[in-house]
Symmetry: C2
Subunit: 181 residues, 2 copies
DNA sequence: GCCAGATGGAACAGAGTTGTTTCAAACAGA
DNA sequence: TCTGTTTGAAACAACTCTGTTCCATCTGGC
């Protein structure tokens, strides 16, 4: 069992994020390797898609870890801002995992996302207890709103309407303060 | 030019929303017709997908029309609630159009959605001028937040976590009042 | 130089789907 | 009943992509 060919996976990921319907021939060409070699590392197309997905979730998990959600006694809003800031640039990864239909029944992927949701859920609950977040709404709903907002923000960035650097602040005020009044 | 076979399209839509990767044979079987007949109405798979998508957008447009966004001199919040209530049940349609990659470069579809966004944009701007909605955020961002929130709410419904009847109220308070405080 | 491992190129078969055609049968309206 | 239309069944060719195999080549370490 050879080591994971990290750089090959990186460039294959990039190619597949850009055009997810690409054939293996195209992916191999984009990665600068022959289809044979690509096939040696990832025996089937599904294996490649899954590897790309796992690789993407790796980065998402790292973003969560880097945000340090469980910093004790700290402002939940600051932690939230760090998380959003780290998550927004991962829009392509999130979109790939979300839209690729053949990943729908990959149980392991969903489990990893669920674990991340649980992390945020903990942060949300602490925010609720600290009086920073509304306590009259269930935590899972706030988590869902958060996830949806991140995705929506990235879509606007992708369309060129939203400047990446503006996104975290805009997201945070929209989420926390709402659009009313 | 025969009339549009509405009922066939309806059931084909239902089948494709349920399993978008289904082969034409499966779609035809689900629709209770032969593959030949299906192929007579929609010569290519892409034509069928596009018809299903257009049919879905038809329903979305009708939801917008029924919500009567341009009721003059009325509370923007009430109009917004009607729109959200009408839109949430169309989650499957929205998901199909959003996730089906072969629809990405169907220019006409995007134009129709853009037109709907413009409608909401008008409502939002009126709400901003009336002091019901925040005026310090661009209208397109509020529209984007709205769309994203609808989609997110339907995902929670689809997962069985959110009761459909609870969705509009939950959405409205989350959007308008935010999750902070 | 030698060798093990990895790579590239090429060709191949197989599967699955799609799009097409033909013909017979059912159907609906005049 | 006659007729024109619609449908179903079947078979067909074509295509694309995938997965596999074989062999020549290159590379890096010993």
């Amino acid at each position: 069992m050879s080591r994971t060919p990290r750089s090959l996976l990186d460039v294959a990921t990039e190619a597949l994020l850009a055009s997810p319907g690409a054939s293996l021939t195209e992916v191999a060409a984009a990665a600068g390797v022959s289809r044979t070699t690509l096939h040696r590392h990832y025996p089937t197309r599904q294996a490649l898609l899954l590897a790309v997905a796992e690789h993407s979730v790796d980065r998402v998990e790292r973003a969560y870890a880097d945000a340090g959600l469980d910093a004790a006694g700290e402002d939940a809003e600051a932690a939230l801002r760090r998380l959003l800031t780290a998550l927004i640039p991962l829009g392509p990864q999130l979109e790939f995992v979300h839209r690729e239909r053949s990943l729908d029944d990959e149980h392991g992927l969903h489990a990893r996302f669920d674990a991340l949701d649980d992390l945020v859920s903990g942060l949300v609950r602490r925010g609720q207890q600290a009086g920073v977040l509304r306590a009259d709404l269930p935590a899972w709903w706030l988590v869902s709103s958060l996830n949806g907002a991140v995705y929506g923000a990235w879509e606007m960035i992708d369309l060129g309407r939203l400047a990446p650097l503006d996104a975290p602040g805009l997201l945070l005020t929209t989420l926390l303060d709402g659009i009313g009044r």
